[in-house]
Symmetry: C2
Subunit: 408 residues, 2 copies
């Protein structure tokens, strides 16, 4: 059986994801699909709208056959580390091809760019250093450096977020000496950050989330942009747990955490750079909401994403030494769910997997798993009473989700 | 001018406090009264019902002339340290006499007991060790040890909380070589822990607090037990800040703090003894309220008070090294408020004070003051929005309360 791998957040699973998934299977002639999916906290440093379990259900119901969790230590990081983690999972799980969405959609442009960057790495790095020294954010500095080196049509546009991720997937595959092949599909319509609906059926996850936090009427407007199964899972989640998760749910906790910390303690958290701790402390007491807090700490030097990640690591009490370990890749495959087809793939292949398959947390111990458990417990505090208790217990005791029927 | 000193929490100021204050002035023939008052967190490890500022107003309006703050490092401790702090303040402020309320009311019984304990200290300590080793709480062990040594009518009953405090005041005066005299007054009626109203005008602060957290109708029932000024301050506080403070206001924050900590981190907090950290972690995720949490961690070995103090130090991020400094006494006099009479006393006497007088936080720096500022900022998080912001800013910027009129 031939498997195609995808790297996803599904926050939430929408028609754009469905299109990509179907194309990925078709283009690679795959028998089944495997997703490396972020857990409860995401790359942009924010809580997922609904838990990893609800998102796993959405994925399975929409055609993903196996969902593995991308651990917190990789999922909440900049593109390079994020990609290393995802590639190590998909590669260990025996994927034939990794298929990613990109703004470019042109694989040759990617391989050209990878080769060019390898040749000119030294100059590229020194230019990045120059631009960050000028006060630009890291992503901006990368784009400016690349532009100043070689603006050519045979390269990808490195200022686009999905192109950057794709680049890092390819570099990670090379670094990890993986035999996994690569394929890319042009992303349909909606840009990653679009806040408004632009097409009849495809909308960005950002615009969908925006509608979900609106009035009851607004929630209905997302129906045309997501599979029915996603819509049902979303409504069900809100009824069962109490609300969707947003940073605002955690703002009282983050404000408290900042209030009870001193600057030296804050500097110990991952991604807190010299000087930032004082900005955080001053802004915390003056802000009534996370949005207001973020607006008051934002500068040209730090992207919104970067600052959200800083906040997330403070919220989850994640220190520099926890994130900067010598392990550059994931060391296990944590199964969140599978279809029947996925299960038979796992049964026949798991003996060949280069990493242990983890279905039960109680039977496995690893620092990355511990961090995921802690992150999930804090994620649970975004709900109240019964919803919180359900989330607190299910992380540790819940078996992977096994989809029985084949609704597709 | 002759000053009498009292050690108080005024949580809230009630008729029993008024009686004690008036008796203290009469018995010692004092011209004015000085209070060493706990700040926003109290000896039993709980937040004060209303802020130190509101309680200072109550005190001044009821006849106290000067209020100094007993810092967090002393106010939230067992009787011995609490007493050391209070005595060092009142002594430095030039009090002629310290007058404390006690169950005994017999000063000779106190001095007999102090002398007896000094003579038999070694045996006393070894007995305490024996009883704590048997699994009794520390206060219980003290009572049992004393009882086994010398149950005599010429001694005080050492199992009573106010007798114990009185004993420690006297011992602290001796240790600090203070020239301050001592006087004691029998506490009227209500026992410290009484939850129900027992007399027509005197009720315990515990029963008053219980009524305040009840329905609107219940709040009115406290009117007969407190001065009019207290009642007005309480209603005013609730209107201005949002609610009275109880541990339940801070439960989501404590639950979060516990959830994001690991056992090794918890052991660093003051009064967290080996083994307790795991009990705390397990109970936190299973509890919906502070009350439920406390009931599930309570054992014979730890008193409720002791466990509340543990929770408080975790909430305020107060580690062992912060509380166990080499300074055994308070090193400044932080003025919270004064009447006109109090002001003229301060003006004429402050040059003779053995400790610096602090009216403005911005003009003074001390580790104990820093701890008080942090504690007050966390105290503020017990309110929402506007009430929280007021409390957050007033701690640092508010000048002492100066009572102008003499309503009494």
């Amino acid at each position: 059986m031939k498997a195609v791998g995808v790297v996803v957040e599904y926050n939430p699973f929408h028609n754009g994801h469905l299109f990509h998934l179907q194309q990925a299977k078709e283009q690679t002639d795959a028998d089944l699909s495997i997703a490396a999916m972020s857990g409860n906290f995401l790359q942009r440093g924010e809580p997922a709208l609904v838990s990893k379990w609800a998102r796993t259900k959405m994925a399975l119901e929409a055609g993903v056959d196996i969902v593995f969790e991308l651990p917190y230590r990789f999922a909440t990081q900049h593109a390079e580390t994020f990609a290393e983690g995802a590639v190590s999972i998909l590669s260990a799980a025996g994927c034939d091809t990794l298929c990613f969405g990109s703004e470019s959609g042109d694989l040759e442009a990617f391989t050209n760019t990878v080769a060019f960057l390898e040749e000119n790495n030294e100059e590229f790095q020194s230019k990045i250093k120059f631009y960050t020294g000028e006060g630009h954010s890291y992503p901006k500095s990368i784009a400016l450096s690349f532009q100043s080196l070689a603006p050519s049509e045979s390269f990808i546009d490195i200022s686009k977020p999905n192109n950057i991720l794709g680049l890092h997937y390819i570099q990670a595959i090379i670094r990890q000496k993986s035999s996994m092949k690569v394929e890319t599909i042009t992303r349909k319509n909606a840009g990653y950050h679009d806040e408004h609906f632009a097409s009849a059926t495809i909308a960005s996850a950002t615009s969908i989330r925006k509608a979900l936090f609106g009035s009851a009427g607004e929630i209905e407007t997302i129906k045309q942009y997501v599979p029915e199964t996603t819509y049902a899972q979303l409504i069900n989640y809100r009824d069962q747990y109490g609300s969707f998760h947003s940073w605002e749910n955690y703002w009282p906790l983050l404000k408290y955490k900042l209030t009870q910390s001193n600057p030296a303690e804050l500097r110990e958290f991952y991604e807190v750079e010299e000087g930032l701790e004082n900005r955080l402390l001053a802004a915390a007491s003056a802000s009534r909401s996370f949005q207001q807090f973020m607006e008051s700490i934002k500068t040209k030097r730090y992207t919104w994403t970067r600052l959200q990640r800083v906040c997330l690591h403070i919220l989850t009490n994640t220190r520099k030494d926890t994130m900067k370990t010598s392990e550059k890749t994931v060391s296990y495959l944590r199964l969140l769910g599978a279809t029947e087809k996925g299960r038979s793939y796992l049964n026949s292949k798991k003996k060949d997997f280069s990493l242990p398959l983890v279905s039960k947390l109680s039977a496995f111990s690893d620092p990355d798993i511990e961090l995921d458990i802690k992150a999930s417990r804090i994620y649970a505090l975004g709900q109240k009473d019964h919803g919180q208790e359900q989330l607190l217990t299910e992380e540790f005791s819940r078996p992977p989700i096994m989809l029985k029927d084949s609704r597709r």
